[in-house]
Amino acid sequence: MKILVAVKRVVDYNVKVRPKSDGTDVDIANAKMSINPFCEIAVEEAVRLKEKGVATEVVAVSLGTKQSQEQIRTAMALGADRGILVETDTELQPLGVAKCLNAIIAKESPDLVIMGKQSIDGDNNQTGQMLGALSNMPQGTFASEVAVEDGTVNVTREIDGGLQTVKLNLPAIVTTDLRLNEPRYASLPNIMKAKKKPLDTTTPDELGVDVAPRVQTLKVEPPAERSAGIKVADVAELVEKLKNEAKVI
């Protein structure tokens, strides 16, 4: 069984991002970059399936600039067998990413695609779902447990109010939630091994995909600073303030 995992290069979760002074975008020019935490969980899950003997090959795919190679190497140091970079300098949005991944699926025919439920930069939570539609594959999103058996996969999903388990026919798409697993760290011998694993590069053009952005960013500004709280004398004053000052009721 072959597993495809998608990994995205994002600003490290420790970095406090700020908007650019002209308000056109967030300023990440100098920020430390890492593998998206949800993608790391996806890699871990795929590697565990391989260690259990369920999967035979784990392929890590990333889309973005040349530097995304670093995140593919990270995935390979964690246990992925090989990597594919879809290289582009264009700003990528969920639909473009989903189309490229769909094209990769056509080439690679994986039995399972595991990806993060969202990336911590865009926070869109769309790519997995779009890929499901484009590829005509069933999807199990927000997975907190994944069990593969006889051509199907049981995915326990974290939903409002509890857990829901769905059974999907393979090939299928799974998006990971935080509780799915605790990703490992790359050991030094595995970091060295990753260096020698194959990493192919392609482009959206070669895949026949137009990744031009469909959504335009108008303005980026920091959230308003919270002003100091006040004490109210009684419920009546609270209601009055909620109504007339906060205008929420």
């Binding site: 990270t74 760290y185 050991s187 030094l188 011998p189 970091i191 060295m192 260096k195």
Partner: protein
């Protein structure tokens, strides 16, 4: 209470790739298989392990010190997870060659990796730290059979190690140790005696503990030339290498410390029954010499430990100062105006700048020493290797002592910045201070390093190391004099170097006249003076890089980073270096106030 961020990634990157040129190591044959990516990934793994497995129990280990029930030592369970993570990641073996089962990783990259781990929890780092040191001793001086038996399990984390030098009666003066080794017909020895303060001397983290013991073979000559080194495992090994019977080494008790609490400190009894079986390492009577050959390495490690503890206090107090509103600037008379965060007060900034200058200066000093250590082993020509060794040998007393003294002083400032909160255990800075208080004591007390510097390291080989360092410093000042921002500092450092020179000649003159007790009396002041000159130079080197970077188009964060380097250089050279003027005067006058004081007058 939030977790203090570990060190500063940007500073580590600066030290490795701007202050030093670690990427150039890739050109050396030993590192052909590596790449910058591998180095970065190694540091990322170290940081992950530090954050997840070490930082998580730093406070808990302090609050729950190890206990001994007469049979077993108990540590909080997180210690085992930390040990396992360190070992499984491959850090116990990384510096050895590929063919030995290592990763052939450069010293400097592993030092940087170790910095993260120590900064997260210095006392749990004690176990791997001592294991690395004792394995290196076996690696350097053991015979093939010893290496084959002990190194593989020490490299994969099944065995740990200790350094058993100190005794209840002997610490600084190891030449007088009492532990003895009786030769046996089968070529082994039986060891009898007590060792004290032995770190990691007992615990259940590993299947076995390999003690590296200094002892005197019966009938050995007196003094340093009569001391031998032995391997003395807690459990004897069977022929096939499996762990066998208990050796005659017993834990007499645990010691209860001010800091570093999660590292067990032990009193060990060797030979309470019929003698602990010991195996001679290398030749008889050369034990102390072997130990000394490993000292430069071990001392960089202690210096770095002190530096990172200082760094943690700096990070925490900086964050605190940025978020603690208190008072107003002297010019603000309006009582209804908003209070400022204390980082706005010049006096708080003084304490922050002092910390920055001490800890970043200490880190840079230790990284520089690591580079020299690397060069002394892997530089291309014999000439370069010798030069690096000569320099390292000279500066080692400062590499150990400067961070130990000023990392601790940094922690004192951190406590002061937190005010009352700095003094209570609900905040982490008082622990950093308690932990760091060890560093001026062990691995050679501060006073001992003063004696070593003035009595040995400086005069050695016709002042070869001393001259070599002077040349290095003058090369930097020559360059710095051509740069507007740094030229005044360069001149201050040249003047300081001239003053150090006069002082050195004056003291060596006294020693040369045979007035040894007088000449050595104030050696600790000399050590501090030397440290100030050395660290001023380290700051000047950083400043030169910063000025060059600032001449280019930079991101705001980058500009702030380099401006910070310049301001800290200015602080150190303008505020701290001038102290040497009074030190030089005192030393050159051969002041005998302390020497002439009489015991009875106290």
């Amino acid at each position: 209470m939030s977790q203090t961020p570990l060190l500063n990634d940007r500073d580590i990157e600066f030290l490795l790739y701007e202050f030093l040129n670690s990427e150039a190591l890739l050109e050396r044959p030993r590192y052909q298989e590596h790449s910058r990516e591998v180095f970065d990934a190694t540091l990322a793994t170290a940081k992950t392990i530090a954050e997840k497995y070490f930082a998580n129990h730093n406070a808990k280990g302090d609050a729950n010190e190890p206990t001994f029930d007469g049979e077993n030592v108990h540590l909080i369970p997180e210690t085992q997870e930390a040990w396992d993570a360190f070992a499984e990641a491959g850090f116990l073996a990384a510096h050895y060659d590929f063919e030995e089962g290592g990763m052939q990783m450069p010293e400097i990259i592993l030092r940087a990796a170790m910095s993260y781990i120590s900064s997260a929890n210095i006392s749990s780092t004690g176990y791997p730290f001592l294991t690395l040191g004792s394995a290196n001793l076996i690696h350097s001086f053991g015979d093939e059979a010893q290496k084959a038996k002990y190194l593989p399990p020490m490299m994969d984390g099944r065995f740990s190690g200790t350094m058993a030098l100190t005794e209840p009666g002997q610490g600084s003066a190891l030449a007088d140790i009492k532990t003895t080794a009786k030769p046996q017909d089968d070529g082994t020895y039986r060891i009898f005696g007590q060792k004290m303060f032995i770190s990691a001397g007992d615990h259940n983290l590993t299947e076995n503990i390999v003690h590296m013991v200094l002892a005197k073979i019966e009938g050995a000559p007196a003094g340093t030339k009569g001391i031998s080194l032995f391997i003395c495992p807690k459990f004897l090994l069977n022929e096939d290498g499996s762990v066998g019977e208990r050796n005659d080494v017993a834990l007499a008790g645990l010691l209860h410390k001010m800091g570093y609490r999660n590292t067990t400190s032990t009193v060990l009894s060797f030979g309470e029954k019929d003698g602990a079986v010991g195996y001679l390492v290398g030749e008889a009577h050369k034990g102390l010499a072997y130990m000394f050959q490993m000292m430069n390495e071990a001392r960089i490690g202690v210096g770095l430990g002190a530096a990172v503890l200082g760094y943690q206090g700096y990070n925490y107090s900086l964050d605190y100062a940025r978020n603690r509103p208190q008072g107003r600037l002297p010019s603000q008379k309006d009582p209804t105006s908003k209070q400022v965060n204390i980082v706005e007060h010049a006096d708080v900034r003084r304490m922050l700048l002092a910390q920055k200058a001490y800890v970043e200066g200490s880190m840079a000093l230790c990284f520089y020493a690591s580079q020299l250590f690397e060069d002394s082993n892997t530089a291309t020509t014999e000439e370069e290797r010798k030069q690096a060794f000569t320099l390292l040998d000279l500066i080692t007393p400062m590499v150990k002592s400067f961070p130990s003294k000023y990392g601790l002083r940094a922690n004192e400032h951190a406590i002061q910045i937190l005010g009352g909160s700095g003094y209570i255990r609900e905040y982490p800075v008082e622990q950093y201070y308690r932990d760091n208080r060890l560093n001026p004591i062990h691995e050679g007390a501060e006073g001992i390093h003063g004696l070593d510097l003035l009595g040995r390291k400086v005069p050695m080989n016709g002042l070869a190391g001393y001259q070599a360092l002077k040349d290095e410093i003058l090369a930097s000042t020559e360059e710095a004099k051509t740069i507007e921002e740094t030229s005044a500092w360069a001149k201050s450092i040249e003047a300081a170097l001239a003053s150090l020179d006069q002082t050195t000649m004056s003291l060596l003159g006294t020693l040369g006249k045979g007035e040894v007790d007088l000449g050595m009396a104030n050696a600790t002041v000399y050590l501090d003076m030397f440290g100030r000159v050395l660290v001023s130079w380290i700051w000047l080197k950083q400043a030169i890089i910063a000025v060059k970077a600032l001449a280019t188009d930079l991101h705001q964060d980058e500009e702030n980073f380099y401006r910070g380097k310049l301001q800290a250089a200015q602080y150190y050279i303008q505020w701290e270096l001038p102290e040497i003027d009074y030190q030089a005067k005192l030393l050159q006058s051969q002041d005998d106030t302390c020497l002439a004081m009489q015991d009875a007058w106290f």
